[in-house]
Symmetry: C2
Subunit: 127 residues, 2 copies
DNA sequence: CTAACCCCTGACCCGCGGGTCAGGGTCAAG
DNA sequence: CTTGACCCTGACCCGCGGGTCAGGGGTTAG
């Protein structure tokens, strides 16, 4: 499977796959003798996981530092929960997920304050 | 008043004042014979208004297209309400404020969905 | 007069997740 | 063999509100 097909199968672009590889999220795939990247179904599943986590607001750097654990999340049945307390799979993602949730709470509160202040100015019922 | 003092009085930096001037938010001030910018109290008040509106999420472009109306907002008593319906002062800001509020609502909803999805994954009570 | 600070313009830098081009090589079908 | 679609790398571009640097000149207290 060449990069364009793999990208389409994962719902993204070839550029994104090269970018993830360059940033260390995606392991360098095998190459044909002429240098073209070759992907398999597992790679496509991995890319889907990466995009899902990015869409949830984790950063490239968050994923890069835990790139070795990403394939575990890509398996159809998530691995059985270990003794880890708050992780989604006993993996190392709990800290970054917790930080992201905290950042989201802060951001939501900030935007809510902005919204209220703007609404107050737009209709000065008591102001 | 030179730029550094005006910036400090408005709670920002000299760089920001030059930037606002370059983008057309702030009228070009008088200059000394040697080219240094000279500001007055009205300019400082205007800069305060600009920063307030930027902090509420309006863009440089939003303010640029209405730069002529900004000084009205800088006056201590806001001008009496005209016949304009939903404006904060019968000015032309209502449209951009409404758009910004809508954008905020959308963004808040998006972040809230992200937060819920992350929380769901972090503690899979019913995954 | 000199030191220390201020100001001038113009240009590049930040984060962040890629998009888009430029200039070339490769693959599959006709 | 040619054509068209695809792939390669490297480099610059986006938004956005400025920060920071570079190289030069102004200003003011001692």
């Amino acid at each position: 499977m060449r990069i364009g097909d793999a990208a389409a199968a994962a719902g993204t672009t070839a550029r994104a796959l090269r970018f993830y590889e360059q940033r260390g999220l995606l392991p360098p795939p095998a190459r044909t003798p002429t240098g073209q990247r070759q992907y398999g179904a597992a790679d496509v599943a991995l890319v889907r996981v990466i995009r899902e986590l990015l869409a949830l607001g984790l950063t490239i750097e968050d994923l890069r530092t835990r790139a070795d654990r990403l394939p575990l999340l890509a398996q159809d049945p998530p691995p059985p929960c270990g003794s880890g307390g708050s992780g989604s799979s006993g993996d190392g993602f709990a800290p970054v997920v917790d930080r992201r949730i905290a950042a989201l709470d802060e951001e939501i509160a900030r935007l809510t304050r902005q919204r209220e202040e703007l609404a107050r100015r737009a209709s000065p019922v008591a102001g």
